[in-house]
């Protein structure tokens, strides 16, 4: 058995299934102290969508709570850059057709024996209406003396990893300051965001307007300076402002994976 695989189907006695969720890893087992990548593949039926870490004006963030053996650590859930979906004047960040989230689990150096892992998935899928697709997937990862990969699954994980936003290099920090109408954000110009037609996808709800976040973008030496519009629901002004800068096509789908960062206050 090279991959662990478990599936939940969002359905009930009276409703047809609208999504299938499969959890897998591409390797034959774990080695102590070495991270192992777990993929959560979500296949959505025609027309249905699910959500990014910030769902936008409605919907719900997709989350995974891991229950792990003692000493195991789970890295953050990696979300591919979402599409911007406009429905009835509201804007949602999410995915249609299919999406793959992934996370790295790391056993402690001295760990031995089978490892029981539970992923509690919090997910909502919507078309005109919404249905919860919450579920718990339990599986066991066995220790492996030599790691081998199932190539097609590894390729699938690698391909989706390339859709997760790149992190802005640590020494090129983004900064911002709150203004009367929103925020002024300064981001170093890197390869992925070298055009003025990019947009801003806020990591969290309630800070920056989802539908029309960028009021203006101007080049200032090695930086972009964005004037961002506050969310009409903004009630707090935190010291950090996270988000993704990305270019989108005319349908609102990302042209590339974009750059993710957490800007610190000037």
């Amino acid at each position: 058995m090279l991959s662990l695989s478990a599936m939940i189907v969002a359905a009930s006695a009276t409703m047809a299934p609208v999504t299938e969720v499969t959890l897998f890893t591409a390797q034959n087992g774990y080695q102590p102290g070495q991270p192992i990548t777990v993929g959560i593949e979500v296949k959505l039926f025609d027309g249905w969508h699910t959500y990014w870490r910030n769902p936008g004006d409605s919907g719900m963030a997709t989350t995974v709570d891991w229950k792990l053996p003692e000493g195991w650590k789970a890295g953050p859930l990696q979300y591919p850059t979402p599409a911007r979906m406009v429905l009835g004047g509201a804007l949602m960040f999410g995915y249609e057709e299919e999406v793959l989230f992934q996370a790295q689990l790391t056993p402690p150096a001295g760990f031995t024996g089978p490892a029981k892992v539970t992923a509690d998935l919090g997910m909502l899928v919507c078309l005109e209406e919404c249905r919860p697709a919450n579920g718990s997937i339990e599986f066991t990862i066995l220790p492996a003396r030599n790691i081998t990969f199932k190539q097609d699954l590894k390729d699938q994980l690698d391909a989706w990893q390339k859709k997760v936003p790149a992190e802005l290099p640590k020494d090129q920090g983004a900064t911002f300051k709150w203004t009367a109408t929103g925020a002024e954000l300064t981001v170093p110009i890197v390869k992925e965001i070298d055009r003025p037609t990019v947009t801003f996808l806020p990591h969290d709800v309630g800070l920056i307007d989802h539908l029309n976040p960028v009021v203006s973008a101007k080049r200032d030496g090695k930086n972009w300076v964005f004037e961002l519009k506050a969310s009409e629901f903004q009630s707090k002004k935190p010291e950090k402002l996270g988000g993704v800068i990305v270019e989108l096509d005319e349908k609102g789908h990302p042209k590339h994976r974009g750059v993710s960062f957490v800007a610190t206050q000037k």
Binding site: M60, M92, E129, C130, N134, F233
Partner: protein, 204 residues
């Protein structure tokens, strides 16, 4: 000739559209809550102005939305309604789902549902055209508004600060509606006057 006339007409329409938008008063904290008249599930007409002198809560709802189900299956919404109405607050459910869309129900179905689920609200109003929902900028179900006795909007946003469809998140959540009403009734400023609403989109 034809082309230039079409363009002129287009420009005139654009200006007219701009003026129309300005005459509508959107919901804004500290300003008068937009006026409306809607009919409830018993055929009775309600005008917001009728409730001057009382606190009013507007709760946008759609009984088939998982976020609304979270707050009704757990009894959280009914408990909040009961707590508020016992103190003289007028609590109005508003259904803006268009005919045939999720959450749309007839007056008779609404009365049955309110009875079955133990609603403690004052009335359920129908806004099938979506005009009042759009006037208030209602984005989600639930989406909550609190109006003070003078008719001023003092809160708009989520029912609480845990944006999930999971009932287990209710005990640890901060109920913004309860808090806004308590503070205002105690003569204090409302500490959270605006929050991000969460839920299903309103089915306009």
């Amino acid at each position: 000739m034809k082309i230039s006339r079409t363009l002129a007409l287009g420009a005139a329409l654009a200006i007219f559209g701009g003026l129309t938008a300005q005459t509508q008063t959107a919901a804004k904290i500290g300003a008068a809550a937009p006026a409306f008249t809607l009919t409830d599930s018993n055929g009775k007409s309600h005008n917001l102005g009728d409730f001057k002198g009382k606190y009013v809560v507007l709760e946008w709802t759609n009984h088939q939305c998982p976020f609304v189900v979270k707050h009704y299956a757990s009894g959280n919404m009914q408990k909040t309604q009961e707590w508020a109405t016992k103190q003289g607050v007028v609590w109005l459910n508003v259904i803006s789902s268009k005919v045939g869309a999720q959450g749309y129900i007839t007056a008779e179905q609404a009365n049955t549902m309110m009875k079955e689920k133990g609603f403690k609200s004052t009335a359920t109003l129908f806004d099938t055209s979506g005009d009042v929902g759009r006037l208030y900028g209602a984005k989600t179900t639930p989406h909550m508004y609190v109006i003070d006795p003078k008719g001023t909007l003092i809160y708009m946003g989520g029912i609480d600060d845990k944006p999930t469809a999971n009932q287990a998140d209710i005990p640890g959540a901060r109920n913004h509606v309860k808090e806004a009403l308590s503070e205002a009734m105690g003569g204090k400023p409302v500490s959270v006057a605006v929050s991000q609403p969460y839920g299903c989109s309103v089915k306009y």
